[in-house]
């Protein structure tokens, strides 16, 4: 655990620290797992439940932009072979979109006030990173796949804090909750160690980071309580791309 915390804390500062230290030629340290951070343009497909031509609530309020989602995943390596690594982990992200409230004046929409929707996806994932190309042929590319079960905590707010809606029978429906779903990811990582093996060894010696990867992937997901009839769709309608850094330690 100590090793993990140390690696997280020093990850950002690792490059300059390593650059100033003498070259180390010791054996690679044993691997434990990995930590990664990523950013991804994101837009939930909430409007999917509304027929084309009718009012699309999400697009009407928040437009068609895709604010960035920030995510961090933490993995424990369960099975490390010469072909690749099987990881099991957890992760969390944060995303928020801001828009203006609307007022329907006949057929005209007047905008004013502020409203927002916030998502905090929490996930448990299993992934496999194929390291054979790099280990065997020193080709610095590692394809990977990941499958995750996601619980997205969400909250909508307006002028007076968290939103609420009162139904015809007087039931109050608060604009916050949690929605389950799944996601699957296909990605390709570039092994940065390939470009400076000396620095890579130094990082391993200094902070225990065995490998640094720059990755790019596509994720397809569905977050609608596995099709429950009273759940909205918080996943994007498309394969969402993301880019980030992974530190294997």
């Amino acid at each position: 655990m100590k090793k993990v915390l140390l690696a997280l804390a020093l990850a950002a500062a690792a490059f300059p620290a390593a650059a100033q230290s003498p070259v180390i030629t010791v054996k690679e340290s044993p691997r434990w797992g990995s930590f990664q951070v990523s950013i991804s343009p994101y837009s939930p497909n909430i409007d999917s439940e509304f027929a084309a031509g009718s009012l699309q609530p999400y697009a009407t309020v928040f437009g068609t932009g895709r604010p960035l989602m920030v995510q961090a995943l933490f993995n424990k390596s369960l099975w490390i072979t010469e072909f690749g690594t099987l990881d099991l982990g957890v992760g969390a992200g944060y995303w928020e979109a801001w828009g203006q409230g609307v007022y329907f004046s006949g057929t005209t929409i007047v905008r004013g006030g502020t409203t927002s929707i916030m998502l905090i996806p929490i996930q448990a994932q299993v992934s496999y990173r194929w390291e054979w190309f790099y280990e065997r042929f020193e080709i610095p590319l590692e394809p990977y796949v990941r499958f995750a079960i996601v619980d997205t905590i969400w909250s909508t707010s307006g002028q007076n804090g968290v939103s609420s809606w009162t139904t015809a029978d007087g039931t109050i429906q608060r604009g916050s909750g949690a929605t389950f779903g799944w996601s699957t990811t296909l990605g390709l990582a570039l092994v940065l160690d390939f470009f400076d093996t000396g620095l890579s060894r130094q990082m391993d010696y200094d902070v225990g980071i065995n490998r640094t990867l720059l990755f790019f992937d596509f994720t397809r997901s569905s977050i609608n309580d596995f099709g429950a009839k009273n759940s909205w769709q918080l996943a994007p309608s498309y394969w969402a791309w993301s880019i980030g850094l992974q530190f294997v330690f």
Binding site: F62, Q100, G113, G158, G175, A178, F226, N230
Partner: protein
Amino acid sequence: MAGPGLAESRPMLRRASLLLLLLPGFALGQTQTGTVTAFATSQGVIGLANRADCASTTSTATWAITTTGITLTAGDKWRLSTSSGACSSTVPTTFLNDVLATSTNQSIPGVFVQGMGTEGSVSCTGANDQPVNLCVYYLPGGTIPSNPLVFTGTFNFQTAIPPAPNLNSSSPGDAQLSINVTSGTETATERAVTGLTFTITCTPPAGGTARTATGNAGNIVCNGLINGTAYTVTGVARSPAGNLGAVSAQLGPSDATTPLPFVDFWTVYKLSNGVETGGCGTGGAGTVAPTLALLGLLLARRRRS
């Protein structure tokens, strides 16, 4: 020769060193130190008065004298005065008050602020702030000594006024307007531009009740407005001591100053008959959550064993 001579001089050196060590302590016993502060009753902070305090014939301040090294006897007095420059080393013959010295940490209420300004040659309409020195002279037995002790402090007559603020924009909400406010530009007669607070007034057409809101630079929200009414918005800045500046140019009446019953995203979604009902996951998720929890528990138990 050098050896024995040095040896003989050692006891003498020790005695001299001891004396030198004792000297500062002796000197400290003789030192009288002290500070003076003044708190205008109308202000929330020590050492500050505004234009109104300066011109008022009733506004008072409380002086606080804190001294050490003085042993008071009956009949001792404090002489209170102010000065635009450094406190004089001679006891002034024109002064604010002579007060019986009853304590080395004494609080003296009821000192007229106007007098403090007059003594300190303050112009209550000056464009710039005017600091004065507070001077308290110790009069043993109530008489002027040949070598008087004076304790000092500072006090600021904040006479600078702020310029009219800029009302940059208005964003309407449900029964409210959010007004973006920044400080106006400093002029020769309006020099207060930092630490300001702003009061926004939202006035409906004739006959309605105006609403005010106060805040720092940025967005200030006028609440409790009537939806569908076009308001006229004005603002005024106030210096930290409370000097009011000129009223800003007005904003509106316009669409931007007309609050409307805007609805938030959740309401738009529900008005469109959205199916989500809020709360925690349902349907298939109801089985997934306990399954995940069970898996986690099993993994943890396996690791322990």
